[in-house]
């Protein structure tokens, strides 16, 4: 009490002074704390993006020459048939994958949400697996199943050969589309499920009372109301599939897409400027699609009007129940086939006929000798990047939500940008900025990988924390300030503990996706910074499918255990964490 009186007197005296003294009285800690992440963003996000944009307009090569200007990188899209094909393939693949995911995911979401069936929560958790598992692992298991020597191909050909037909091997467009669809349909499925399950059944009942039939109601009420969720899901699928590197790299065969073309420019020719041009085109396409989606969705964004809400009624008819169960089972089995295959493959020497041959533990026993460095690297790179991303994302979320600075929208855009950027593009941007004749040279270091991981994954934590903060009543923090706590004390004792669950769930998501990160790492790794996904990719390229499988199984188990533990503890849907605002 005494001490505080003294404080008050002092403060009272000072307040007579000018603007400078006023400034001194303010608590400047928040500004210091905010400056660090903002500086990081400028150096490692804004600067590389600007550099990439500049390089895109420079002549081929890796030299950063200010003043030189060339459209060569872009005109190639009109001259080179390889560029044209890659662009075309990217479009065909991502558009077909998006449409197929909708066709597969929407009925599945509707069935699980609206039809009486057993094991719904199991279907939901199994249905999320394909997106939390490394997509390139799925790709090479499809090689085992449908490749030239593929098990399933072999099986189908038993029936097709007598008819004079042959099943084509998986390589090429068909394989990429199949593989991506089965990997990404959960986005549509989970978001459609959420929308179907939470929509207000009173609206449908009102329609029924006014004389509308079931199909009419679905067409005019149910479906329009889930459009925003569907749009968000479709956008996620499109962004992911146009940016995916692993699947086309493994089963694309001679069919290039934009991310593999970027890899080819960098890895084959060390032509960073050329790669930057492709990256700019890649980003432009994504941006246009994002913009289109926003426009369409904004037209269809409805607010809930009614106050009362009733539970949706479930279909109980026998026919629809059988259809629903069979359909869900079929999709689940098809999309989880890679996971089963890989576990079997990892214990056998080879698998070319119908059955695997030569049971062995050798693949696993080789891991400590040949891949221990990769394991340690993966672990440390992911954990360090996750911790840093958690700090960065939380602080920036706090700034935009609580301080509401003038450029909040810009900050939000900047931090969310990497969310839609393909991993290869982020890598090209970082290489553009920090290699060759740049002031800060980071090529081949652990640092550049950590930075790339952070830049790409901070949105996860950011989104999660921002959502949590917007739910949190500001008076909780004000009460602390009133009680006499300065900004930092309040931040430590009130804000951080209350948003901790959001920080943790965002971080878990970050960690699990980083453990399997391939598209970012592939352009940045050096011999000392190799990771497990790189090792798997290399093993597949060398045809050592057994070793690749064993490594993948370990990765799968680790990721699965982490996600399972988080779901047990927090019980929230992972799919919604991927959603963007």
């Amino acid at each position: 009490m005494k001490k505080h009186d003294k404080n008050l007197v002092n403060a009272g005296e000072v307040s007579g002074g000018g603007a400078f003294k006023r400034l001194l009285q303010k608590d400047i800690t928040p500004y210091l704390v905010f400056a660090i992440p903002l500086t990081f963003m400028v150096i490692f996000l804004v600067y590389p993006m600007v550099t990439t944009l500049m390089r895109a307009f420079m002549p081929a090569g890796n030299k950063m020459v200010i003043g030189s200007f060339s459209l060569k990188g872009f005109t190639k899209f009109f001259e080179s048939s390889m560029y044209q094909k890659a662009l075309g393939n990217s479009f065909i693949v991502s558009i077909s994958v998006t449409l197929l995911c909708i066709v597969i995911g929407v009925p599945m979401g509707y069935f699980v949400a609206r039809v009486k069936m057993p094991g719904k929560s199991l279907i939901l958790s199994l249905g999320i697996l394909p997106i939390i598992m490394p997509s390139f692992v799925g790709a090479f298991t499809w090689v085992i199943l449908l490749g030239r020597q593929g098990v399933l191909r072999h099986f189908f050909n038993l029936f097709l050969t007598p008819l004079g037909l042959e099943m084509p091997p998986i390589y090429g467009m068909f394989g990429m589309i199949l593989c991506m669809t089965l990997t990404y349909y959960p986005f549509v499925f989970q978001l459609a499920y959420g929308a179907f399950a939470s929509s207000n059944s009173l609206l449908e009942e009102a329609g029924m009372l006014m004389g509308a039939g079931k199909w009419y109601i679905f067409r005019t009420i149910t479906f329009p109301l889930i459009l925003p969720s569907l749009g968000a899901g479709a956008l996620l699928v499109f962004v992911r599939s146009i940016g995916n590197f692993g699947i086309p790299a493994i089963i694309g065969g001679d069919k290039y897409v934009l991310p593999t073309l970027i890899y080819f420019r960098v890895n084959g020719f060390w032509d960073l400027n050329g790669a930057a041009s492709i990256a700019v085109v890649n980003v432009l396409i994504t941006a246009v699609v994002l913009w289109l989606q926003k426009r369409v969705i904004n037209k269809h964004e409805y607010e809930t009007i009614s106050a009362t809400h009733s539970e949706v009624k479930l279909h109980g008819g026998k026919g629809i129940r059988i259809i629903a169960i069979v359909y869900c089972m079929f999709i689940l089995i098809a999309s989880l086939l890679p996971q089963f295959t890989i576990i079997i493959m990892s214990f056998f020497e080879k698998w070319v006929g119908l059955f695997p041959e030569g049971f062995t533990f050798a693949h696993y026993l080789r891991i400590p000798r040949y891949s221990s460095k990769e394991m340690v690297n993966t672990f440390f790179l992911s954990v360090i990047a996750t911790i840093l991303a958690a700090i960065l994302g939380s602080i920036i979320a706090y700034i935009t939500e609580r301080k509401k600075p003038k450029g909040a929208a810009l900050l939000d855009l900047a931090i969310m940008a990497p969310f839609i950027l393909p991993g290869t593009v982020v890598s090209v941007a970082l290489l553009s900025a920090f290699s060759g004749n740049s002031a800060l040279k980071l090529t081949g270091t652990f640092t550049i990988i950590v930075i790339a991981y952070m830049v790409r994954r901070t949105p996860y934590v950011y989104r999660s924390v921002a959502a949590s903060l917007s739910q949190l009543n500001p008076s909780l923090e004000e009460a602390s300030t009133i009680a006499g706590a300065n900004w930092f004390y309040t931040f430590r004792k009130v804000s951080v503990p209350l948003i901790m669950p959001a920080i943790i769930s965002g971080s878990i998501l970050t960690l699990t996706t980083l453990l399997q990160e391939l598209s970012t790492t592939i352009l940045l790794y050096s011999s000392k910074t190799r990771t497990v996904p790189i090792q798997i990719y290399g093993a597949v390229a060398d045809g050592k499918l057994g070793e690749a499988s064993a490594l993948s199984v370990i990765l799968l188990v680790v990721v699965f255990v982490i996600v399972y533990l988080m779901n047990r503890k927090q019980g929230q849907s992972i799919a919604s964490s991927f959603k963007m605002g």
Partner: protein, 372 residues
């Protein structure tokens, strides 16, 4: 030693440099006495919460001064002001038990553990939560009234110079609200800390406050005790906000006399009930408002001299009085009259024609103005 609190020409403009600035506080100047329980009352959007938050330093004021005692606190950040505040939502910390919630301000002040235990025990005794403190649950496990008490204890435990209460009863049910407002007054008198209580409920404000300030659109309309505001309202707005006031459109016929519209009813108003600050500017024949409280009027079936014709809309039996809502010609009054009679009048039912009269010497006279 309690502090007084003084506002000197306080102005708060939201979005000053934007298209639609909002003048939330307009030249607010008054003083709250040491140890007083002072109510800020007004309809929503009147600026009462802004004034409270400015007092706490949670909002910075555009210009003017706020003094605690003799000290100018205008630019001091809230955490250096040594004040206690209870929020409408209580703002208790779900991640701390109730002991730690209450001890929070002491921990900031680095009070020794022994002292913390002693002070928390004392303050919890004061708010009547001794039993709950022994169990020490998380605040989420408490009832609304108990959470309220914890919030008050948390604000009081470090002997603040000022206690600010922001609609603290709004989240409680009606019965608990009446009980807690008596409790708050008891606790405030026991600690004698200068207290500001914000509410939009006039009954609550009149019951709890030593004095009240009525705000409207950022302007302090009137300050006084409950009795002063009720018996001597300064304006039509205050008269109808503190209790109910019925208004008649009228024209000034003499210095203290008005004629009610459409009638030859002349109303003589006692000089002390003429509430017209700018009366000097008015001339005979100008429009004025004649006001009367429900208990200052009568109805009857028979026409008498000076009575005004109307139709009964609703009859409500409220226990000690019977309230008649009577609709007059809309040129006399656009809102129905509320008239309280001591008992039910035989022979009058809803939709009947009745005659309304004003009791001698009771009516007020106001300047015509917006009354809401």
């Amino acid at each position: 030693m309690s502090l007084s609190l003084t506002y000197k020409s306080v102005n708060k403009i939201f979005g000053e440099h934007e298209k639609n600035p909002v003048h939330a506080l307009n030249e607010v100047s008054f003083t709250i006495n040491p140890g007083e329980l002072f109510c800020l009352l007004g309809p929503s959007g009147c600026g009462k919460t802004t004034l409270l938050r400015s007092t706490a330093g949670l909002e910075s004021i555009t210009n003017g001064k706020i003094l605690y005692g003799e000290k100018d606190m205008t630019t001091i950040p809230p955490f250096r002001r040594n004040i206690g505040m209870v929020f409408q939502s209580f703002a208790l910390y779900p991640h701390m038990n109730i002991f730690e919630n209450v001890a929070y301000g002491l921990r900031i002040r680095k009070t020794p553990e022994k002292e913390v235990v002693k002070k928390v025990t004392e303050v919890m005794e004061l708010v009547g939560l001794t039993e709950e403190l022994k169990r020490n649950p998380s605040p989420t496990g408490l009832s609304g009234g108990q959470q309220q008490r914890v919030a008050i204890a948390r604000a009081l435990v470090y002997d603040p110079d000022l206690l600010l209460l922001d609609e603290p009863l709004a989240n409680l049910d009606a019965k608990l609200r009446r009980y807690m407002r008596a409790e708050i007054r008891r606790i405030q008198k026991a600690t004698n800390i200068t207290t500001i209580f914000v509410t939009h409920d006039q009954e609550e404000a009149m019951a709890i406050g030593d004095r009240l300030a009525v705000l409207r659109r950022g302007i302090v309309e009137q300050i006084g005790t409950s009795n002063e505001l009720y018996t001597n309202p300064d304006s039509a707005f205050v008269s109808n906000f503190i209790g109910k006031m019925n208004f008649f459109n009228a024209t000034l016929t003499a210095k203290n006399q008005a004629r009610i519209a459409l009638s030859d009813t002349l109303v003589d108003v006692k000089p002390e009930k003429v509430r017209m600050a700018a009366a000097a500017k008015l001339s005979l024949g100008d429009a004025v408002l004649v006001g009367a409280r429900p208990e200052q009027m009568e109805i009857s079936k028979e026409k008498s001299k000076g009575a005004i014709e109307g139709h009964v809309q609703i009859i409500q039996h409220l226990g000690q009085v019977v309230r008649y809502e009577v609709l007059l010609d809309e040129r006399i009054s656009d809102a129905p009259m509320e008239i309280d009679m001591p008992a039910l009048i035989a022979g009058i039912s809803e939709r009947d024609k009745v005659y309304v009269s004003l009791k001698e010497g009771m009516p007020f006279m106001f300047l015509p103005e917006e009354r809401n």
